[in-house]
């Protein structure tokens, strides 16, 4: 079974949820302690949500210096698949493993509620099993989730197809940047998730692991986790770079 590592920082609080959901997605989930210097041979890594090291200064700013992040950066540089969810996305952004930054929500308050996002691409390791582009319902829970980058970077992300998810309206159209309740945190260009240049590292603010079972109101997030597990399995089988997808 494909082993997927979930990094546990002190203050991570979605680690157990992520382990649980990855098991539902068909993986053998493995805890990776923040002080670990090696990754225990896992096929992919998830940085879970929470408040790593308390996040009193700024989300993710201390976690990026933890020993495990050196190993994660090396793993990513080698083409390994890394998914950061919520605080995990913030850590990836602070570590420079994905572009941009997560600022305080435009309303300056923590927000926890269901949102709709849609994948911009269905041919990535994180989305290839989603099947079709449709709104996915899952919760957000963050105070610093407003995606920000300079206009040149935003244009580049757009051009290179590295916008992975956007917040969308009921009809699937992207939400506006300001004054649109469908873009809960005021993210620029309604970006909810991005890819790095190589396409093997992704971050997103909403929580797919909290939307992986019908009893919790939505299983729309399971497709994202299953995509990751399957891509990791294929990559492990091929022992080469992650090349998966429909085309």
């Amino acid at each position: 079974m494909t082993r997927i590592g979930v990094v546990v920082f002190p203050g991570s609080n979605c680690d157990r949820d992520t382990l649980h959901a990855l098991a539902l997605a068909g993986a053998e989930p493995v805890e990776l302690w923040h002080e670990a210097a090696t990754l225990d041979g896992v096929a992919a890594i998830v940085l879970p949500g929470g408040f790593a090291y308390g996040d009193y200064l700024r989300a993710g700013v201390i976690a990026r210096f933890s020993p495990v992040m050196r190993a994660v950066a090396a793993f990513a540089a080698d083409g390994g698949l890394v998914l950061g969810i919520c605080n995990g996305f913030q850590v990836l952004a602070e570590a420079g493993l994905v572009p941009g930054a997560l600022l305080r929500n435009r309303g300056l308050r923590f927000l926890g509620r269901d949102v709709r996002i849609a994948a911009e691409r269905l041919d990535t390791p994180f989305t290839h099993l989603l099947g079709e582009r449709r709104p996915l319902r899952m919760p957000i829970a963050h105070g610093e989730g407003c995606y920000f980058a300079d206009p040149a970077t935003l244009d580049e992300l757009q051009r290179d197809g590295r916008v992975l998810f956007r917040y969308v309206r009921t009809d699937g159209a992207p939400a506006g940047e300001t004054g649109d309740p469908d873009n809960p945190n005021g993210s620029l260009r309604a970006i909810a998730g991005v890819l790095n240049a190589a396409g093997n590292v992704a971050g997103l603010m909403p929580h797919p692991e909290r939307a992986a079972e019908g009893v919790l109101g939505s299983d729309d997030g399971l497709g994202i986790l299953r995509s990751l597990v399957e891509a990791a399995r294929l990559r492990e089988a091929a022992a080469g770079p992650a090349v998966v997808g429909a085309r």
Partner: protein
């Protein structure tokens, strides 16, 4: 009096030390009697905090003993850190509610945050992983700038702590009433899940075992939290009390949770206590007293946050995020390894003894030696005087007719306009603007989060779910504290029963005024009697709780507020029934009947009229039948949705079902009294159920078998709520039966949603969800 003025007057007229510590002359005499000598300085400080109302329950203890606490599933009851009830499969649920009113009035963010932190520690100290928080908040007029400051700070504080520590906030209440203007209420309930064999108690067995303190260091914050803040009324010098408020560190708490549960899972501790009100003094003396042992503490071994702390400061500091473990010497290394792994400071601060004394030494000098039980189980108990106020009124006996002169028009009222106004009012509008500031889904257990009646949490790995709610009817309590308390229990239990779940137990947070004032103590004793009566009628044990007295400010006392938390068990989460109308064309059935009385209702609050009649009566026997009925109906699959009639009355109950379900209803309501009473009265023991039309006859029959009146009102569907008021069976003239007897209620769902959605934000001056200020 300003701080300077008080200091000046103190210099002129020095207050004896015991009085400065909040002890009366009688209490000093009782201490001398227990010690057989005059107490030393540190001993007096320890008694001062332990004999405070907050720690000793010296006024409420005789009342609390009257509450029913037994139940076959109860594993741990009152006196423990939290109540624990078995849910089968070797699992148990731990739950408790606690107040943090006064700290929140002084410093709302930290007051509320540490309120969450404190109740979470009570839960994981028992070996349970905290899985949910519910917060019951009460404030003054939302238009008032101080209220807005308090609401903002408290909501941020609850969220700031709960969100970070990773425990979802899944429910609670937010109520505005002028009586809370100077003394808001912040009651927090926490729920935890444990394997029964992991149950751990706050005890200190085994002389020779080490006493280990781990977690944060000890500082000067929260000196006198229990005695200065929680056990005195507010004067006009509140800012001077700010140093008594503790400061929360949710990151440290998160580490404490993981470390504590790891210590328990590894069987490494003999006993575990959290350090809360009363600081190290309370945790050590209670643990020793429960085990019939003593403790010898070395003051110098306690890690401090700052130098030059006086011994009494160290012993009573309420610095947050600290735990006390009793550890066998051969297991100390393993305990240390767990603490080190979670980067938590730890220290051996003493040892368990067999002399039953709590002894504090510093550099070989004995600073205190006090029988542990003198501080805790043998603390002083006061017999307070209870006296009903002269303007008191009693609720009518069940079935006894009362005047229905509500002073409100029966015709020309436009019930639709009243409904819109009610749904947009601060107490009934959508709470989303507040609960969306909380993480309600972390933990992947939340089946139903805040805003839709009781919260529902699945028990991962089983088909079961826990159902939880908090309720308090304080306005009726102000008129009749027995009735207010009994209604609170009935409503909380009903909210659990309508999901199909079986209520397991009650935790209560009693928020009342100064117990030395006979009227306030009468309110407390009547309310405890009401809780006891209701719990006995409904077969519910009280498994624990908290008493918060002295909730008074220069503006007066708060309404007597018995906040009731109930946890229930649903055997199969797939059978869960919610309040929302789930399908078009379902039959709407009203179970129960309206009884007279509008006093204490939101309708009366809206009208601004002092209602001339009393509050509606409560028949506890009928309430018990109603709850048995609805559980059976759900079990038999006869119920598509279930909602109880409470604040705002029947019309608001129906409107909520419609708003949550996104579909209206077309109904005919037979009435026999005033339309205001029928539509907006809050008489209890009524349910709005929907059922597939083919199940309606069976549902009506089942209700009759339980001796409950039930009537099919119409069907769900459409974009409006239309309620025709027609003559009911009791209407005098037969020809009026079935005829329209008053103006109908007819209102568009979209209009209701606009009123309901933004009502709270408008009341508090917050931007609404679409960004408009």
């Amino acid at each position: 009096m300003t701080v300077a003025a008080r200091a000046e007057s103190a210099a002129r007229d020095p207050v004896p030390l015991h009085r400065a510590l909040g002890l009366t002359d009688d209490e000093l005499a009782a201490i001398v009697e227990r010690l057989g000598r005059a107490p030393k300085h540190l001993e007096l400080a320890m008694f001062g905090v332990m004999w405070s109302e907050h720690c000793s329950y010296k006024s409420s203890k005789p009342l609390l003993r009257t509450l029913p606490t037994a139940g076959e599933a109860v594993v741990a009851g009152p006196g423990e850190n939290a109540g624990v009830v078995s849910i089968g499969d070797g699992l148990a649920v731990a739950f408790k509610i606690e107040s943090h009113n006064h700290p929140s009035a002084v410093e709302p963010y930290q007051g509320a945050a540490t309120g969450v932190g404190g109740i979470l520690r009570d839960i994981f100290t028992m070996g349970a992983r905290p899985i949910a928080v519910l917060d019951a908040l009460r404030f003054g007029d939302p238009a008032d700038s101080r209220t807005r400051h308090l609401v903002d700070g408290v909501v941020r504080g609850v969220g700031g702590y709960g969100n970070c520590v990773g425990v979802p906030t899944v429910g609670g209440e937010l109520v505005f009433d002028p009586s809370y203007a100077g003394n808001p209420l912040v009651n927090v309930m926490a729920i935890g899940l444990l394997e029964e064999r992991a149950l751990t108690r706050a005890r200190a067995p085994g002389p020779g075992n080490f006493v280990v303190l781990f977690g944060s260091t000890t500082g000067r914050d929260g000196i006198g939290g229990a005695s200065v803040l929680a056990s005195a009324t507010f004067g006009d010098d509140d800012p001077s009390k700010r140093p008594s408020v503790q400061v929360g560190d949710p990151f440290a708490e998160k580490l404490l949770i993981e470390a504590s549960l790891e210590l328990i899972a590894g069987g490494l501790v003999e006993g575990l206590s959290d350090i809360g009100a009363g600081g190290i003094t309370c945790a050590t003396s209670e643990a020793a007293d429960r085990a019939g042992t003593g403790m010898r503490l070395d003051l110098g071994a306690i890690p401090r946050r700052e130098p030059d702390m006086a011994p009494f400061e160290v012993m009573i500091s309420e610095s947050q995020e600290r735990m006390l473990a009793v550890v066998r010497p051969d297991r100390l290394a393993a305990v240390a390894a767990v603490c080190d792994r979670w980067a938590l400071p730890w220290a051996v601060i003493g040892a368990v003894t067999d002399d039953r004394d709590l002894t504090v030494v510093h550099f070989e000098r004995e600073l205190a030696r006090v029988p542990a039980r003198a501080l805790t189980s043998d603390a002083i108990v006061h017999a307070r005087l209870a006296k009903a106020p002269s303007r008191e009124r009693f609720a009518p006996a069940p079935g006894e007719p009362t005047s229905a002169t509500d002073g409100l028009p029966e015709r020309g009222m436009d019930p639709g306009a009243v409904l819109l106004a009610l749904l947009g009012s601060p107490n009934l509008a959508s709470r989303a603007a507040v609960f969306e500031q909380y993480d309600s889904t972390v933990g992947v257990r939340t089946v139903v989060g805040p805003g839709h009646g009781a919260a529902v949490l699945r028990v991962t790995g089983t088909s079961k779910a826990l159902v939880a709610t908090t309720d308090a009817n304080a306005v009726v309590g102000g008129l009749d504290p027995w009735l207010g308390a009994a209604l609170s229990v009935a409503e909380a239990s009903r909210n659990v029963s309508i999901t199909g779940a079986r209520p397991l137990g009650v935790t209560d947070c009693l928020n009342f005024g100064d117990p030395t004032r006979p009227e306030a103590f009468w309110q407390l004793s009547e309310a405890v009697r009401g809780i006891g009566d209701a719990c006995r009628a409904l077969g519910l044990p009280v498994t624990g709780g908290n008493v918060s007295l002295y909730n008074e400010s220069p503006g007066g006392a708060i309404l007597p507020t018995p906040e009731i938390g109930v946890v229930g068990l649903l055997d199969d989460v797939a059978r869960l029934v919610g309040p929302a109308f789930v399908a078009d064309g379902d039959s709407v059935v009203l179970v129960g009947e309206a009884t007279p009385g509008l006093a204490g209702s939101e309708y009366a609050r809206l009208g601004g009229t002092a209602a001339e009649d009393g509050p509606p009566a409560l028949d506890l026997e009928r309430e018990a039948r109603l709850q048995r009925f609805v559980r059976e109906a759900v079990e038999r699959g006869l119920v598509a949705s279930a909602q109880d009639v409470s604040a705002g009355g029947l019309a608001v109950a129906i409107a909520e079902c419609s708003l949550w379900g996104g579909r209206g209803a077309r109904l005919r309501l037979p009435i026999s009294g005033s339309p205001a009473v029928e539509l907006f009265g809050e008489s209890p023991s009524r349910l709005v159920l929907t059922t597939r039309p083919r199940h309606a006859p069976a549902l009506l029959l089942l209700a009759r078998q339980h001796g409950l009146p039930a009537e099919e009102l119409g069907v769900t569907g459409g974009r409006r709520i239309a309620i025709e008021l027609v003559g009911g069976a009791a209407t005098g003239a037969a020809e009026e039966r079935g005829a329209r007897v008053a103006d109908p209620l007819d209102v568009e769902l979209d209009a209701l949603r606009r009123a309901w959605d933004g009502g709270l934000a408008r009341a508090l001056g917050w931007p609404t969800a679409d960004g408009r200020a």
